[in-house]
């Protein structure tokens, strides 16, 4: 591609742009446009919080205020819904992590007929619309066990698909597991439970941690499955949806501000940790190379 493109606006001073420069500029424009598209709505939603107007809008600007934060902070229903979301999230972790681990061990450490069918069943909720999971959970527990819509049912509904995410995380980690460690422990007289506790659990700890975080976040922001199973209880997402439906004041923007700010902080922490990890890996690789060179020099 050696063609050149004429730029009419700036014809006198710099008449020609190489195709490489055109590419570079259009990539820049594209990236800028896309990230504006991603962030402008969020920034707008956050800025609205500071407008002293009862309707959530930036125009007309009626002066700076922080009262919507106060109003949000004083909302008892919101706090109750936050507590409920935390309770549900806690129980989803308690159920999903062991179930996901059981599924992962079943898939990687056993040979049973129909294993791939079981796998397909266990991951199927990931490819199922959330409201279908919610409604099937509701009809099953209500008609068979007379357990109607309530927060415990949301835990069961959410667990059915969140456990699959946990399983995938565990399976990825288990493929790199060194089985000889476990064999050694068993040969030296450890009971299966001791071997599991002292070798498998420590090895899986990082995966258990990330599965727990993922399970909690998935549960915390879940709407579709919760909608059908929650009954008269209210989670934070239900609270927010109810507020928006009823036509809200910017108090909701104050809540959104806090939540987005938390997300951005989490993103920054994540990036810092990632860089530190990358730097550490790099340093280790460099040290290994130097050691190798030194060894070669010594041998030669």
């Amino acid at each position: 591609m050696t063609s050149t493109v004429l730029v009419s606006a700036d014809a006198a001073s710099r008449p020609w742009l190489t195709s490489d420069q055109v590419m570079r500029i259009s990539v820049g424009v594209y990236l800028t446009a896309f990230f504006l598209y991603m962030f402008l709505p969020l920034v707008y939603m956050m800025l609205v919080t500071f407008n002293d107007s009862r309707i959530p809008t930036l125009t007309p600007w009626k002066g700076f205020t922080l009262r919507w934060f106060q109003e949000m902070w004083a909302d008892e229903r919101m706090w109750n819904s936050v507590i409920k979301s935390f309770i549900i999230g806690f129980w989803v972790i308690v159920l999903s992590v062991p179930l996901g681990l059981a599924g992962a061990l079943f898939m990687t450490r056993m040979r049973v007929l129909g294993q791939s069918f079981v796998y397909a069943v266990l991951v199927s909720p990931v490819l199922m619309p959330g409201i279908i999971i919610g409604l099937s959970t509701l009809v099953f527990w209500d008609t068979q066990f007379r357990i109607g819509g309530r927060w415990e049912l949301s835990v069961l509904g959410q667990t059915s698909f969140i456990a699959a995410y946990c399983m995938l995380i565990f399976m990825a980690r288990l493929t790199r597991f060194d089985r000889t460690l476990e064999e050694a422990a068993l040969d030296l007289g450890a009971t299966p439970f001791q071997a599991f506790r002292t070798i498998m659990v420590p090895y899986m700890r990082p995966a258990i941690l990330s599965a727990s975080v993922l399970a909690f976040l998935q549960s915390f922001e879940n709407f579709n499955t919760t909608l059908f199973t929650i009954g008269n209880d209210i989670t934070l997402t239900m609270f927010i949806a109810g507020k928006i439906r009823a036509g809200t004041t910017p108090a909701l923007n104050a809540l959104a501000f806090v939540m987005v700010a938390f997300t951005i902080a989490a993103g920054i922490v994540y990036e810092i940790l990632r860089r530190r990890e990358a730097a550490r890996t790099e340093a280790r690789a460099r040290a290994a190379r130097q050691a190798e060179l030194a060894a070669e020099a010594g041998a030669g």
Partner: protein
């Protein structure tokens, strides 16, 4: 199996099997089967009739779904709009993923990835709420357009299908981008460079190298985006209001009216639709489920 018994003992194997059985049977299969069962039985308002002579298998619920012209219209609209959202997300997401992969070694990439992750992590409802504020009658977009003198009266964006589609693309486009990015990342950049050095124009590079390589990512991105759009409740509820009804809303209305049988029939219809879409996409891209669920 004997190997597993040696490793985990009877108690360990028992615990694993119990976990898998509890999860697979009680949380996934049984609820799903019961939903299908209910969908093929009549709604009997009197609980005494349930299990009685009136409680027979029938397709009357599905007849109700498909004989009502409004339902059929909503059904087709949901399909059409979800496909539209999927295609638009692909058209926006493909170049973006490619740019990000090609920028893979630059210092910017970490920041760009965080720039993708942050909106992805923000709750779906809040992201939709943000668009409700932008699209409102006297919201940001109308104010800007009127301020520029491009329009005299505010355009009605909310409570329209268009508003719903805009919100859906924004809500789910990242589910398209991440699988695209991860398949493109595994493409050897030397292949692209070689093709370019040999004089291939950029569309040939994409059509012959990048697209075939990223097929599994395109397929899984399309499947997930379609399913999330067709199964979305929040976005049509907040941006479509009462004027732009979505198929999910019909399901919810039946449950609100305690007609679980008809509601299950609607639900079963949605599941079947998604299944058909998955199979179609897999046939179109000639990929297997294994390629997609990586």
């Amino acid at each position: 199996m004997t190997e597993a018994l040696q490793r985990f003992g009877y108690a360990g194997v028992g615990a694993i099997l119990f976990g898998v059985l509890f999860w697979g049977a009680l949380l996934i299969v049984a609820p799903m089967l019961l939903m299908v069962d209910l969908a093929f039985r009549p709604y009997l308002p009197n609980p005494k009739d349930v299990g009685g002579p009136l409680d027979v298998y029938t397709i009357q619920n599905f007849a109700k779904v498909f004989l009502d012209p409004l339902n059929v219209w909503v059904f087709w609209k949901t399909i059409y709009a979800s496909i539209l959202v999927t295609v638009v997300s692909l058209l926006i997401g493909y170049p973006l993923s490619y740019i990000l992969v090609r920028a893979g070694r630059s210092a910017w990439i970490g920041i760009l990835m965080i720039g993708l992750l942050i909106p992805f992590w923000v709750n779906e409802i809040l992201r939709t709420f943000a668009w409700q504020l932008l699209l409102a009658r006297y919201g940001f977009i109308n104010t800007v357009l009127m301020g520029l003198g491009l329009i005299d009266d505010p355009i009605q964006f909310t409570n329209t299908d268009f508003g719903v589609q805009v919100g859906l693309v924004y809500a789910y486009i990242l589910f398209m981008i991440f699988p695209l990015y991860s398949t493109m990342e595994s493409l050897d950049p030397n292949q692209v460079d070689a093709a370019r050095d040999l004089g291939a124009p950029f569309w040939r590079i994409h059509w012959d190298i990048v697209v075939p390589h990223s097929k599994p990512g395109i397929a899984s991105g399309c499947i997930v985006t379609f399913m999330l759009s067709a199964g979305s409740y929040v976005v049509p509820e907040l941006l479509g209001g009462t004027r732009s009804i979505w198929f999910t809303k019909l399901i919810y209305l039946q449950f609100d009216a305690i007609n679980w049988n008809l509601g299950s029939a609607y639900g079963f219809t949605l599941v079947s639709l998604c299944l058909v879409f998955i199979l179609l996409v897999m046939a179109m891209f000639r990929v297997s489920l294994k390629d997609i669920a990586r």
